[in-house]
Symmetry: C2
Subunit: 147 residues, 2 copies
Amino acid sequence: MLFKDIFYHSFVRLCQFINLGDSTFRFYNNSSSFIHGGLDPPNRDTTPVVGQKQIHQRIQQLNFRDCHAKISQVDSQATLGNGVVVQVTGELSNGGQPMRRFTQTFVLAAQSPKKYYVHNDIFRYQVYLVNSWSAYRLFSELFVNGH
Amino acid sequence: MLFKDIFYHSFVRLCQFINLGDSTFRFYNNSSSFIHGGLDPPNRDTTPVVGQKQIHQRIQQLNFRDCHAKISQVDSQATLGNGVVVQVTGELSNGGQPMRRFTQTFVLAAQSPKKYYVHNDIFRYQVYLVNSWSAYRLFSELFVNGH
């Protein structure tokens, strides 16, 4: 249960990252790696940033505001060095934009028996896909009602 | 460059897993954790299997044959314990079935300076989504041509 507790609290904190503004960076430390981007230029982001200060700057650049997230799946496993590896998929909306699917992997590392930091954070928006119902509505408007 | 080499070779081997049949399990060891499933019952898979023998049995149950994979994104970072954490997204077809989107996270751990094993493997098919062009063709057949 301890493992689940650690995971749960860490994950909830991570979900809150996007609305924490300037305090977000405290979950990382100087050995943390962070990448957050899409699949295409100019938001492709091919090189992770490393270190608490650098991650703080990058999060500020990402300009999170009025974020909404839906989580569809979370898996976690114990990993090397008493860490926890977590894979999350879901949808995220930032600044009033439509929800976009994302995949995120993070590795939590123990700082002390009850304190963890984020050692790795890999976040990618996915290829633009729409679900079948949205597609139906879109195309029925275009090709049924419109013609 | 060494890191990239390690990653590349490990990743290529992982991509080949699905067509390696009975030799697949040798990339795992007795401390490895493995989960491979969808999002809904009965393929939900909520508990990882642990250990080389158990993973071998699980892979046999998954009945991989005539697999095809398309990789859309790979990210990797050095992680705890001289390991490598990798996040992969793409599409996979098994046994002549349609391509399905998946997300996979794995952690590679050093066995010796040039030899790695898979310490963690988290594989999830994603919510069934179709791209807009497929959806257009589907719904135009149903609602334009058919009515």
